[in-house]
C-alpha cells in the first residue's frame, strides 16, 4: 500500500475504533466478556469444587449391612471412620452369600430396593469365599460418594488390622511391603504451573480472540448496510483496499485486545485458583517474552480469522443476518482447537501447516515453555501466509460494489464470480 493509502487506512481505522468504543455491543464482546466472564467462570468452578468437597466431607452416608457382611468389630471400625451411618439387617437376605446361589440373588434384590427407595446409599453383603459385595448406584451422586467413603474406611481398617497383627508377632509392618515408594517430582513449581496453563489457555484464548473480533466484524460490514452508511463508505475518496485495510485493522485490534485482556485476567485467575490447590506446588508465572509470543501467535491467527469473518459478513444485509452467517464459523473456531487438543498431539511439520490447529499447538508450546523451533517457525510462517491470502481474497470481495449496495439476498452461487472478476471501484 502506498504511503497516502496507508495514512487513509489509519484514518478509517481510527474512525472505526472511535465508533466501536461508543458501541455497547462491541464493548461487551471485546472487553467485558474476555475480561470478566471466563475468569469468573473459572473461579466459580473452583469455588464450586471446594464447596462440593466440603459437602461431601461433611455428609453422612447410610450403609446397610446385610446378614453377616462384616463381623461386628469391623462394623465398629466403619462407624468409627466417621461419616458413615451403619445399619445391620438380618433375615433371609444376606444369608446365602457365602455359599452362593439363591442368597446372592436375594441380596441383590434387597440392595436394589434399598438403593432405589433411598433407604441406603451403599449396601454391603457377604460374597463368595469370605469376600464382600458392595452394592452402589454410580448414577447417584450420594451413592458414588458413599462408595468411596466405605472403600477408604475398609482400606483403613485393613491397614490397622495388618499393623496390629504385625505388632502381635513382633515385626515392623513395613517389612511386609514389597517396596516403599516416595514420590519426587522433578518439575519445578513454575514448570508444573506452565503445563497446567498450556492445557487450559490455548483453546480459550483462540475462542476469546475470535469472539472479540466477531461483533465488530459484523458491525463494519452488515451493520453499515443496516445503518445506510455502506454507500457513504463506498464514496470515500480513498482506494477500496485502504478502506478494507482500515476496517481489518480495527477488527484485528478488537480481537487482539480481547486476547490480551483474556490472557491477563486468566493468568490472575489461574494464580488465585492454582494457588489454592494445596496438594501440589504450582506457580503461575509466564515470562514476558513468552507473553509477547502468545500475543504474536494470537494476532497471526486473527489475521486470517478476521479476513474470513469480514469476507463472509459482507454477504449479510443486517446485523442479525451477519451474526447468523458468522455463527457456524465461530463454532469452527471453537471445535477445531478442542478436537486438536488430544493427549500427545504436538506441533510437527504437518500440524504446523493446518490452520487453527497450528495456532492451538503454538500457543500450548509457548505457554508450556517447550517450543520446538523448526515446527514453531513453520507454524508462524504458515499463519502469516494464510493471513495474507485471506486478506487479499476478502479485500477483493470488499471491492465489489454490489455486495455493499445489495438490498436483496445475495445469491451465494455467484461467490466464485465475485472472487474472480472484481468490479473494483478503485
Amino acid at each position: 500500500m502506498r504511503e497516502g493509502s496507508a495514512a487513509d487506512a489509519l484514518r478509517i481505522f481510527r474512525k472505526e475504533v472511535v465508533g466501536a468504543a461508543r458501541d455497547r455491543h462491541t464493548l461487551l464482546h471485546t472487553v467485558a466478556v474476555p475480561l470478566l466472564v471466563y475468569p469468573l467462570l473459572f473461579l466459580g468452578t473452583a469455588q464450586w469444587m471446594v464447596y462440593r468437597k466440603g459437602v461431601e466431607e461433611n455428609a453422612t452416608y447410610r450403609v446397610l449391612l446385610l446378614g453377616d457382611a462384616l463381623p461386628p468389630p469391623l462394623g465398629e471400625k466403619l462407624v468409627r471412620a466417621g461419616g458413615l451411618g451403619v445399619e445391620r439387617e438380618t433375615g433371609e437376605a444376606g444369608k446365602g452369600g457365602g455359599g452362593g446361589g439363591g442368597g446372592g440373588e436375594a441380596d441383590l434384590e434387597r440392595a436394589r430396593a434399598s438403593l432405589l427407595r433411598g433407604e441406603a446409599d451403599v449396601v454391603l453383603a457377604p460374597g463368595e469365599s469370605g469376600t464382600l459385595r458392595l452394592y452402589f448406584d454410580s448414577g447417584g451422586e450420594r451413592s458414588e460418594s458413599g462408595r468411596r467413603r466405605v472403600e477408604r474406611a475398609l482400606e483403613g481398617a485393613g491397614e490397622e488390622a495388618r499393623r496390629d497383627a504385625a505388632a502381635d508377632r513382633g515385626f515392623d509392618p513395613t517389612e511386609l511391603e514389597v517396596a516403599s515408594v516416595r514420590r519426587e517430582d522433578l518439575a519445578s513449581p513454575e514448570e508444573a504451573g506452565r503445563r497446567v496453563l498450556g492445557a487450559l489457555l490455548p483453546v480459550l484464548l483462540l475462542v476469546m480472540s475470535v469472539t472479540g473480533a466477531f461483533g465488530l466484524a459484523v458491525d463494519v460490514t452488515a451493520g453499515e448496510k443496516e445503518r445506510r452508511t455502506a454507500e457513504t463508505t463506498l464514496l470515500l475518496p480513498v482506494p477500496s483496499r485502504a478502506v478494507f485495510a482500515g476496517k481489518f485493522l480495527a477488527v484485528l485490534a478488537a480481537g487482539g485486545l480481547a486476547s490480551a485482556l483474556n490472557l491477563a485476567s486468566m493468568l490472575l485467575a489461574s494464580r488465585a485458583f492454582l494457588g489454592g490447590l494445596g496438594e501440589r506446588s504450582l506457580a503461575v508465572h509466564v515470562p514476558p517474552a513468552s507473553l509477547a509470543l502468545v500475543l504474536l501467535v494470537c494476532l497471526l491467527f486473527l489475521a486470517s480469522a478476521v479476513s474470513l469473518l469480514l469476507g463472509v459478513a459482507l454477504f449479510a444485509r443486517t446485523f442479525r443476518e451477519g451474526q447468523s452467517y458468522l455463527t457456524p464459523l465461530l463454532t469452527l473456531f471453537i471445535l477445531v482447537p478442542m478436537l486438536a487438543f488430544q493427549p500427545g498431539a504436538r506441533l510437527t511439520g504437518a500440524t504446523a501447516l493446518v490452520p487453527i490447529v497450528n495456532a492451538t499447538f503454538a500457543l500450548r508450546e509457548t505457554l508450556e515453555g517447550s517450543i520446538s523451533p523448526g515446527p514453531f517457525l513453520l507454524a508462524l510462517a504458515a499463519m502469516a501466509v494464510y493471513g495474507a491470502l485471506a486478506f487479499a481474497l476478502a479485500a477483493r470481495l470488499h471491492a465489489r460494489a454490489e455486495l455493499h449496495l445489495a438490498e436483496e439476498a445475495l445469491p451465494l452461487r455467484r461467490f466464485g464470480a465475485w472472487l474472480r472478476r472484481p468490479e473494483a471501484v478503485a
Partner: protein, 250 residues
C-alpha cells in the same frame, strides 16, 4: 473540465444488470447530457427511470456497461479516485456515521480529502456556522433529528469545496424550512461556480432551482432543456403538466 468546459459529461451511457426475478434489466439505455460550471441540471423521472443509476455511475460506485462519463475532466472508469475527490455526493443512501459527532464527521471527511491541517479547522468552523450546527456540533449524529442530520450531511458534502455536486433527492425528509434552507444552499453553491446535478420528485423545486431539466424515463432521456424550452416543446406551462405530456408523446 472537458474540452467544451462541461463539468459533467455523459455520453451514450448504458447499464445492464441481471435481476434475479426480472432477468436482464436495461437500467440505462444511451443516456447523454452535460452540465457546465455554475449550472444546476435537474434530472426528473418516475421511480425506476434510471436517475439513481446515472448518479451512481457518475460517483464511480457503479461501472457503466457502455458509454462514457466524466466529472471535472476525470473519466469515471479510469480515474475513479480523482472523480470522488472532485464531487460532493448526497443521497438517501449516504447516511452519516451515527457514532461520530457532527464535528468529527466533518473532520473525518476533511482529512480523507487531504485538506491541509491549517485549513481544516477554520473550514469546519465556517461550515458549522453556515449550516447552523454550532449547538449540536459535539452531539453524536445518531442523536440528531432528521433535519439536523440533513444539514450535517450537506456540510460534509461540501467540506472539501468540490467543483461538482451530485445530489439525489437532497430535500427528502426535510420540513418546509429545511427544504428551503437546502435550496438556498444550492443556489449559493451555484453562485460560487459549482456544477450541480440534482434529482428530485418535487417539481416546484426543479422549477425554482434548475437552469436546465432532463426528463428521464425507462433509462432514456426524453427531453432536456430550460423550462422555457420544455414549455415550448410541449405547449404546457407547469412541470406537473410538461412531465406527463413528454411521457405520453411518441
Amino acid at each position: 473540465m472537458s474540452e467544451d468546459g462541461a463539468a459533467i459529461r455523459v455520453e451514450g451511457l448504458v447499464k445492464v444488470y441481471a435481476d434475479p426475478r426480472r432477468g436482464e434489466v436495461r437500467a440505462l439505455d444511451g443516456v447523454s447530457f452535460a452540465c457546465a460550471r455554475g449550472e444546476v441540471l435537474g434530472l426528473l423521472g418516475p421511480n425506476g427511470a434510471g436517475k439513481t443509476t446515472t448518479l451512481r455511475i457518475l460517483s464511480t460506485v457503479l461501472l457503466p456497461t457502455e458509454g462514457a462519463a466524466s466529472v471535472a475532466g476525470h473519466d469515471c472508469v479510469e480515474e475513479p479516485l480523482a472523480v470522488r475527490r472532485s464531487i460532493g455526493f448526497l443521497s438517501a443512501n449516504t447516511g452519516l456515521y451515527p457514532r461520530l459527532t457532527a464535528r468529527e464527521t466533518l473532520d473525518f471527511f476533511g482529512r480523507l480529502h487531504h485538506l491541509p491541517e491549517d485549513r481544516l479547522g477554520p473550514r469546519i468552523e465556517t461550515l458549522l456556522e453556515a449550516f447552523d450546527l454550532r449547538e449540536i456540533a459535539d452531539r453524536r449524529c445518531e442523536k440528531l433529528s432528521t433535519g439536523q442530520r440533513q444539514r450535517v450531511s450537506l456540510a460534509r458534502t461540501v467540506v472539501h469545496a468540490p467543483p461538482v455536486l451530485i445530489l439525489d433527492e437532497p430535500t427528502t425528509g426535510l420540513d418546509i424550512l429545511g427544504a428551503s434552507a437546502a435550496i438556498l444552499f444550492l443556489q449559493s453553491q451555484r453562485a460560487e461556480g459549482c456544477a450541480i446535478l440534482f434529482s428530485t420528485h418535487v417539481m416546484a423545486e426543479a422549477e425554482k432551482l434548475c437552469d436546465r431539466i432532463g426528463i428521464l424515463h425507462r433509462g432514456r432521456i426524453l427531453a432536456i432543456g430550460t423550462l422555457e424550452e420544455l414549455r415550448t416543446r410541449t405547449g404546457r406551462r407547469y412541470l406537473e403538466e410538461i412531465f406527463p405530456a413528454l411521457l405520453s408523446s411518441p
